[in-house]
Symmetry: D2
Subunit: 271 residues, 4 copies
């Protein structure tokens, strides 16, 4: 049986891991339950008569912390989810049946990195900087890439490099760079499947503003049915100068949830 995927991978594809590590104490939005991890059993706690022992974990987490995907059920506007579905009615028995994360299929799609910060010759955009449509289009042109329907688009601000610095990454004082509504509307109009970024909220957050208004979330999730991926690590991929790749994006199948942790991987073939 011929399999060109396997052939390509066996010929030496490179995998770029686009997720930040889930680690106790990592930066995350205070709006969501904090990630915790503990070991109920460690080796040695209960050794079987044959000398075997198993260690295990207890995990607590929100689904919008760490690298994760937003399901369409995450955000509503004026009481409606994407497609005009009533947001309250869609919650049946405490689960978002219609547009929960369990309705997102596993995805392997063309991914396009829009390396805005690289295009601007910086290592990190300033806190609160709004990535404009001109920035997006300038970067795409400089890279020689174009968006197509069903692409997964990753917008790099460089902010992911701050992930080791809790306060810096959260940017309460500085704001956080990201796209604004102008760039979002244009990206959405290209018919993409999902948009990712290397900050907690994807969109621009002004200094001191917090998450009081999130119009880009509305544009993508509610108006266009486009998934959002946040808290990505795009540094290594950007350094490789690969702007087009196969992007593997597979949420967990959690019934009725509004999001899921995810570990997106960019696959680049040997040239």
């Amino acid at each position: 049986m011929r399999n060109s995927l396997l052939a390509a991978i066996e010929a030496g594809a490179t995998f770029y891991d686009l997720a930040q590590q889930y680690r106790v104490g990592m930066p995350q939005s205070p709006n969501h339950p904090q990630f915790s991890h503990s070991l109920p059993r460690r080796h040695g706690d209960m050794v079987r008569s044959d000398g075997g022992s198993a260690a295990n974990d207890l995990i607590v987490t929100g689904t919008h912390v760490g690298t994760h995907i937003d399901a369409l059920a995450h955000v509503s506007q004026d009481g409606k989810l994407f497609g005009g579905i009533d947001a309250q009615d869609s919650c049946i028995g405490g689960k978002y049946e219609s547009l929960g994360v369990h309705t997102i299929p596993p995805m392997i799609s063309r991914g396009i990195l829009i390396d805005v910060v690289g295009y601007k010759g910086m290592t990190c955009l300033d806190g609160g900087y709004e990535i404009s449509l001109a920035d997006i289009q300038g970067a795409l042109d400089a890279q020689g890439t174009q968006l197509r329907p069903d692409d997964i688009v990753l917008v790099r601000s460089g902010w992911g490099s701050k992930f080791g610095d809790y306060a810096g990454y959260m940017g309460a004082a500085s704001g956080v760079p990201g796209i604004g509504t102008e760039a979002a509307e244009w990206i959405a109009a290209q018919g993409v499947r999902a948009v990712g970024a290397d900050s907690t909220a994807l969109e621009v957050i002004r200094a001191g503003a917090g998450h009081a208004e999130l119009p880009v979330h509305r544009i993508f999730l509610v108006e266009h049915g486009i998934f959002i991926v946040e808290t990505m690590n795009l540094e290594e991929l950007a350094a490789s100068k690969n702007f087009e790749f196969a992007l593997v994006l597979i949420p967990l199948n959690i019934f009725g949830a509004t999001g899921s942790p995810v570990r997106p991987v960019a696959v680049v073939e040997k040239k």
Copy 2:
């Protein structure tokens, strides 16, 4: 930029989702923290002045419940992990630094389904049935497949079809079918990367025995450094008669944990 992966996918690849759904009340081993999910905020709980609203989740889970991967740090024998690493020393600050699930890279490998139950002309093997080496080799021959180093091997017993029946799936009274040590030693000797199955423990569990002894875990995790994937759903893949495929297996990057939820996907190209 040519990309044969994308070309194959765009030409019409089929994705087989090999995970069971995470759902409150699903069957799981009582040895691990129970999966829980709740919505701290639902739409309407806090509506912003602009009419927007966000819903979110609180997830509690063990890492060995639902479809998941066992990291090598999960099991020790006589105080040692794979490679002779001291099991207690490897736990630093409450995290398994050396062989935790964060050390497993994202994988896309050749996957081979060994459809033992299909080969035997049944829909489900009997509780407590030990899949023998002859069963494994007979199924491989009948399928026209062979194992190679770095393959990910999926052994189907048909037990996954019982996932909707808690007591039936757990099989406390009946036992659960799976491979025994003879088949495990042979599979390990082929140099595979990971072995998956459609039951909670992968290996055969005798009626009434519980998980008191798990020698196949020792063989794979401790002696050979082979990852284990459990609680898979192999029904649809088996029905398609695709025995060879590209298997996408990407654990979450959880620092120091002994396992991770995972949603494995088999990718089959259009013929």
Copy 3:
């Protein structure tokens, strides 16, 4: 400063602990999130330069598992909570503001043990046995006790002695003994503050019936505003033959929750 409480205690009061122990694996209703406990840090994980070390915990729990109190917000009938409050409107921002467990004050009240099983000369009532009004009144008479307004009433079936046996205690096959609607109506009419029992549901559960109908919950919580305490341990208190005592019942002050773990204590003065 004179303090007769302290004087009584210092003169040798006896404390009867009426709670079962919270322990991983204890029996609990499958309708509620399972109790889990793990130690994120153990001694030795992180030792400070001065030789000090701290261990800590991660707890996950429902509020209706182990010995606990039901707040009035726990149960509604035809969309209404106690006092005719609309059950959906009372949930503001994901919290039961009006009748949540945070609205229950710390209580020290007269407690009356109605030792039905002792009165009937048994060690444990049969599964599914409905404690009748005659049983209640017979036991009260035999004990020489009477109910008064604001009492906290504890009804002993003897079922608490099975707490170490998960399946036995849950009683799926056998049913669980408890009061029925006749006894509940009469107890409620006495104006008591709270009613406790030594089973998971307080009221009689028929064999095989599960918690499909819980009319006694409706009578106490919705119709009369009487708190319910479940999964108590009344064995030692009953053995002491103290039927009247000061009962200390102090829920945690958890904003907006429908229940709380509680450790009720009966205080009996030296005679």
Copy 4:
């Protein structure tokens, strides 16, 4: 049956609730798992055929957040717990068997409020202020109170009034007032059972120092076997000018844990 406790309570005792409310977002030490609360089921999610409905909770919490008690197993020095018990050996199967919180009995003892901040004529001590032995003795004298063996001692700094202000209460920049080693040694020498305070760490925390060194914890928990209660609310009790009272302090009985949420109550008789 005569019961002087009940007589006193029925004659009109006043209860002072000394706990802060458990509420999502409350200030807590970042060293411990964050308190989360969610409602898996709300009224209306699952209505039974008879019109009844139950709402329930999912709670996640550390045991050293909110108002809580430290068990003796919480802190070790040079590998030893109180009484010279080996700290690592005392953890059996992932539970602190010897000095875990389940070994603390329910307590009703004489409580003494040492209102240091009131004595000094302030509403709140300054961040980082060390309460000296002279402060303690001065306040006791001014109040006309003396410590006795088995007392539970509550030291008020006024810091509890800041509980609604996360950053202010945590005091990373300002430090937090509390007793130092001099006062702690003297209090311990009086033979008290437990010491409580209205801040997260009980003891003085210098500005910028964090919890790097906690010598008062060592003195009380390791050297003298005295329990610590933290994050109390002493404002209302202090305003009442009751310095001596019956203190009810009943931890949850959580097997093997290092602490427990607690809701202490001071009971003051009508004079």
